[in-house]
Structures are given as structure tokens and as C-alpha cells.
Symmetry: C2
Subunit: 310 residues, 2 copies
Amino acid sequence: MATINDVSRLARVSKATVSRVLSGSRGVRDESRQAVLKAAGALNYQPNQVAQSLSGQSTGCVGVICAMESMQLAVNYLPALEKQFSRHNKHLLLRFADDAMGVEDALFSMGRGLCDAMIIIGARFPLPSLDKDVILIDCLDAPGENSISFDHAFAAETACHYLINHGRRQLVLLNYADGETAEQLLQGYRRGLEYHLLPYNRQRVACRDPSPSVALQSLINSGTPFNGLLVVNPADAREALSVLHAFGRSVPDSLAIISLEGSTSLPGSLLPLPAIEYPLEKLAEKALDMITGKLQDGGPLVIRGNLVAG
Amino acid sequence: MATINDVSRLARVSKATVSRVLSGSRGVRDESRQAVLKAAGALNYQPNQVAQSLSGQSTGCVGVICAMESMQLAVNYLPALEKQFSRHNKHLLLRFADDAMGVEDALFSMGRGLCDAMIIIGARFPLPSLDKDVILIDCLDAPGENSISFDHAFAAETACHYLINHGRRQLVLLNYADGETAEQLLQGYRRGLEYHLLPYNRQRVACRDPSPSVALQSLINSGTPFNGLLVVNPADAREALSVLHAFGRSVPDSLAIISLEGSTSLPGSLLPLPAIEYPLEKLAEKALDMITGKLQDGGPLVIRGNLVAG
DNA sequence: TTGTATGCGTTATCAG
DNA sequence: CTGATAACGCATACAA
């Protein structure tokens, strides 16, 4: 790799002039500029990013820590984030983590001058205490300030309206075991029912953990009738689909399913179930704004999803 | 962030000694070592990785370019790669690419001193000419040297044996439109049939591009009977499943499906279809060996998958 | 408009 | 065993 010294020698100017031409660019005689440009072209010179990082402040790298438990979501987030990143000449350093320790590990190994900022995505486990420049996306306990989360209550309520308007009045919520998200979903679910003057039946709220399909089977075994099903993500939807198929219940004729966290881009999902989908591009944009500091005053950000009919 | 200067001041030794204690570590008086360790601990000092990169040669970063068309596969590769990387204290810089231009873009933006090496994953499109330190994994045209690919012929042949041994003798191959992989698959498919003295029927080789389900429908419309189906990946399998379900053909009773590129970790695939699965950990290990140069002499590497019954 | 000198944080060389 | 000092490649304040 050619360095700035090579260029300066070949162009017969100083390193400073080379640097000026290729970055600052103002206050350089046209003759010099041309010489530099020509030399740089001839040597195929590209400034070394590591040296730039050391000299300047920013490295242009952002660490992204993905919770493995929500890989399905990561598949959607990652391309959206990366697109924004590369648009702004930033690099995405990827790590996966299974638990709080894994997150700590990742934060540590990336946080030694390599990254300007960190993003944690989809962690459903309690997080360790973290610095101010860590952004939380779709994490269970988002401790205020730098976090982007989804309005799950809104999603559940919307889903209820949708199903009820389609003639389903016995709605089952296959919820998370606990956590902020679970509570929000339950709250939205109850509001949705209330709005339509439907009674809240505790039997119809099942726990997807540890197994959505087992939960569904238990529900069926209990004899509780239902004709609408709210699941937390497309993977759960697929599981439910299989179980219901095995029990001879057709979807959506006998029973309608809606996913509370959709994923447009996931191929292979031929039968199009209705879902609440979140604008990933917007999400990525906001995340980048937080990193660059444009949104620093905004505090926590809550995004509402769109209902996408099947 | 504390620097080596802060530590050296606090420990009343020179920067050189601090550096020695924290890396080389040999030939330091114990008293000095303790002083350095204590100071470093007090200041929570961690060597700046960027400075280390500039001083030394390696940055410890590896660029990974994922073809978006095979996101499903990426979901499997990425965690396996990242695990190996972090085990060896390497960082994974992620980029996505849609086409050759995207790849070129990514190579360019990461190849300015930031990355020690590059990996391209799952590109089914023709690649631009690339440097020697670029490793190709599961790419369509793997130009010799640094590439890891799958033995698709072996996979197709194994799949045929499996299906035929399960009483299916009318096997359809839903193949790629063209490319090396397609040819290999076809070759293995034919060998599998030959071995069992079954005739090769051109009607039973369909093209999954642009749409697997359309291809399958055409096949069904044509009236060609079949009771076994080889698809190239789980996504295609799911599509096929839907189409066949719509046509009232039950799987695996009336017809068996096998995926030639499996994915264990993908949740939500409740009904377990048989598949050829590739050992991702081993793949990642080999990739890392190539990067670190342990495998440099090996040339192109071909990996065979395991049959995993449904 | 241009060149010189300095700093960014480490590692490595080389005297002492 | 240890401490100056020189790289690494670039940006920039300052001087000319």
C-alpha cells in the first residue's frame, strides 16, 4: 500500500499539501492539486483508515451486539443498519451474545478505542450496567436515555382491533413469560378487548416460554375455545401454524393468526399472515442519529408498527 | 480513556516498561511489574487497539461481505464465524452486497488498512477480480486458491440414495438456473439415479429461478409424476411445502422433500424435513486457518455435508 | 499558498 | 533490567 509519503515524493510537495488536497482541499494552488491528484492516481493511493482514526478522534466503527435468541429479528435489523452505516461511511462490527456475560465480553473487546459507539439488539435478558454511548434497540429492559423500542401495547391493541373487525372475538395471546414487553402486550391486548366490550379471560393468555407449541397444545387440551391468535413473532407463528395444522384447524378459516413483530424481508414465508411490521429503515436512521448526536436530546424513542394484512 | 502515558507516570516507570509488562512481559523486575499492574488497574487502563494496529501490522479485523440473496444461509454462517473470530481475538466487520458492484464497494471501503483479510459469503453472482487475501465461501464461481465450497454433487447423490432407499423412485430436482453449483447438483443427481439403475428423465429437472413455486406448479401442470423432491435450500423447501399443500399432496406421505443445504439452527421449522447439513463450525475454523495462513498451501477446500433425516 | 513540526498511542530498537 | 527514541500514517497548528 502506498502511503502519503510516496505521494508527496512523487508529486514533489509536502505531506501536508497531499493531505489538504485529499481532505480539507481549500487553499491549494491548482497546479499542486493536479500534481497530487495525478500522483495519488498513479500510486492508487488511499489514506490508511487506521492512521486517520489515530490522528483524528473517530474510528468510524460502530459495534453491534446481537442477542442470539432473536436471530430472526437480527436478520432484518442488520441489513437495515448496515445500509445506513455505509451510507454514512461507518463500519459495522458484529458480535453475538447469549447472555449478559457475553454482552459484557463484547463491550469489552470492542470498547478499547475501536468503536465510537455500541448498539445492543434484541436482548431479552437483563443487561449489565453500561456506558452512555451504548444504544439499546428492542431490548427488554431499556433503561431510559439511549434506547429505541417498539410500542408493543399499541401493536397488541391494533392486532385485537384487526381480528375483532374480522369477526374473531375469542382472542388468544401467546405472550412472553415476563418483562416489560410482556406487560405492554398484555396491556394492549386488554385495551383492545375493552374497546369492543369483550370480557378479558385469563385462560386466553398463554405463555410461549419455554415452548410456543406446547403452550398452544395445553390451551387446546384445556378446551378453551378461540378463533384468533396473537403471537409475538413470525417464528412463533410458524410453530403455531404447524400445531394447529396437526390438530386439523385451518388458518385463517377456522382461526386467524397475527404476528406482533413482523418481518417483510424474510423469504420462504409464502402464506402471508397479517402482522405488525416496524419500519426498519426509519429505525436504523434513528439509531444513526443517536450515534452522530443529532438526536441526543430526544431520550428514549418508541416506534409504532404498521398493520400489514396477510 | 487512560493512555500508556498515564500509567507510566503513575507507576513511575517508562512507557516501554509498561508496554513490556502488558505484552512481552519478560525481563522486568518484579517490583516494576507490580507497580505497572497496580497503576493499570487503578486507571482501568486498556491498550488502544487502533494505536496497536498502527504500530504493529495486523488490525485484527476481518471484513465479511454477505450476499443478500442468501441471507438465510448468512444467519447460519455469521454466528459460527463470529465465534471463531472472537476466540482468536479477531473482529468481524460486516457488509451486505446485492451484486458485483456492491462487493466491489465493500472491498474498497474496508480495504484501506482496516481489514487484514476479507471473506465473501454466498455470492451467486459473478464476482469482480479480487486480491489474494479474499476468501470465498459458498460462492458460485470460486476461482481456485482461497475458497471454501460445498460438495454439491455429493449432496445431491446422497439425497437421491436416501430418497430411493425410502421407496421414492421418481425424483425431481429443483435446481439453480446455471452456474457451477447447478452443474454439480445435476451431476450428483444423475449419478444417484444411475447407481440404482433408474432412468434420467429431463422432465424431472426443473429450474427454481426465478420462482421455485412457479416451477413446481408448472411441473405439476405438466402431469409428470413424482414422489421425491430435491430442493436447494430450506426456503425453497418451505415454498414447495406450501404449493404442494395447496395441491393436496401430503408430505412426506405422498411425496418426500429433501433440502440440499440444511440449516439446523433456524427455528420455526417445526416439521423436520431431511436435509444435507454442513458442519458450520468446521467451516468457520477452516476459514480462520486460511486467514491466519495455516492453510495457505491447501488451496481450495471442499466440504461434504451430513445427511440429517427429518 | 506551502512546508515544518508536533501529536495521536503503541511497539520495537538500542543504548545504558 | 530500563529508559530514551524512532517508527507506524495521517492531520493540523504554526511559521514562512
